[in-house]
């Protein structure tokens, strides 16, 4: 997740996690699966928008930025044109400021004027939808896009806001207490992949 994506403790952060270890449960995507998902999403984006001329791909920190860059490269590869790629830090727009430590993860940099263009927000995991809500606010201050779309690698459910993705790598039903971990070589220094983790002690785990 680009930022701990919930009004509750971030399960990836041991300091804020409530009790118990997290253990590996399943591999969801291999490096090849991830590459194919990128390729398919890139094609869908261009198909839906009848070309890539007026597109801006805006990644949400941390992994959304890397995914947006990858999608940009894929599109450049088959469309033969440079797609504008930017990055968005949504920390100061979140609705859980004051409930937990919210720190910026990077610098907002969108190389073109978003006014009149179609912005595709890119993130790794869509969960409660609160990060995307914050991103829509942050985007508003950069201009008035013609349209905003959302691309994610994984939609894991449990939405708390009326938000849906336009482009999805994989719909993955999860339990709330579980954790979807996206690994990207350029961010994590490991092999690409997506894994499902869950509490070692599943006693307190509520059903999805």
């Amino acid at each position: 997740m680009s930022a701990p994506d919930a009004a509750q403790p971030n399960p990836q952060d041991p300091a804020t996690r409530e009790g118990g270890r997290f253990v590996f449960r399943a591999r969801v995507f291999s490096p090849e699966d991830l590459r194919r998902a990128h390729t398919r999403i890139a094609h869908e984006i261009v198909e839906r928008n009848h070309g890539a001329e007026q597109l801006v791909l805006v990644g949400l920190y941390t992994r959304g930025v890397a995914i947006a860059r990858r999608l940009g490269e894929v599109i450049a590869g088959f469309e033969g044109l440079e797609v504008a790629v930017g990055s968005l830090d949504v920390a100061f727009y979140r609705d859980d400021i004051g409930l937990r430590p919210v720190q910026p993860l990077g610098t907002t940099e969108v190389p073109v004027d978003v006014g009149g263009r179609t912005v595709v927000l890119v993130d790794d995991v869509l969960f409660t939808g609160r990060t995307v809500r914050a991103a829509l606010d942050a985007l508003t201050e950069l201009g008035r896009p013609r349209a905003v779309q959302l691309a994610v690698l994984v939609d894991r459910g449990h939405r708390e806001l009326p938000i849906r993705a336009d482009f999805v790598g994989k719909n993955l039903p999860t339990k709330r207490a579980e954790d979807v971990r996206v690994r990207l070589a350029e961010v994590d220094g490991t092999e690409d992949g997506i894994e499902l983790w869950g509490p070692a002690d599943p006693a307190g785990e509520e059903e999805a």
Binding site: F92, P101, V102, Q103, P104
Partner: protein
Amino acid sequence: MRHLLSIDDLERSDLDELLDLGESFLAVTRRDIPKVPALRGKTVVSLFYEDSTRTRLSFETAAKRLSADTMAFSVSGSSVAKGESLRDTVQTIEAMGVDAVVVRHPSAGAPHRVATWIDAAVVNAGDGRHEHPTQALLDALTLRRHRGIGLDGARVAIIGDARHSRVARSTAKAFAALGAEVTLVGPPTLLPESLIGWPVATTGDFDELLPSLDVVYLLRIQHERQDATLFPSLREYTTRYGLTVERAARLKPDTLIMHPGPMNRGVEIAAELAEGPGSVITEQVANGVAVRMAVLYQLLGTGAPVA
């Protein structure tokens, strides 16, 4: 972080975190809409018992760019003129429901006292001759943006009336904590009586230091704090300790010139050097808004007390 009262309250990691956050807010302040909703619904009051233009405006701008509401309390025209005590004033303000109080006071330690009386976060915006921590943070951010994250080994001279200067004390501590080597420069009457708590060296010979310096930090000659004549004349001060064009020519080409303002042009700094190539004085002002945003955000926005 519960309050910001002294640079001593900050560990190196707290300093780095505040300065990182300051960088983020500096990026925000450079946007077309330099404002974020982070502190919506919070109220920041400035309580100034001493004249100030830039610090007060800087805090007010910082709060507004975080979408906090601001109130200003100035001594003239207030109930203080009618004899209200600091404690009563502070408790009255708190009863109105404020989240942070920015205090400037002529007495050292006043913000510490205020912090013991109320639940709101207290920011020291200058207390007597004691401390001015947000000035130190903005100076550190300015220097860091030119030198990189660590100030390791940067040679800094702080020239002037360090004895009566809260800026010198706070800034010297922050620079030293980040790894710089700080030397106070001035006649013995303007250097601190004791160096306890000062992580610095001292010298009376500015000229000797010139070629080795990475930063020349000029303090304002404070007419209003001088109860006795501590040097013979302004002209003599300028001759020995002013950054004149001749002295500036002996600095390394990339030496930075800093000043907390307001400047006495022609006294501690030659008029033309204030806008010269090495001067980062206007950057200091811009960075001041960004670090004050960082401080207010850390105090009111993180929801997790660190210190």
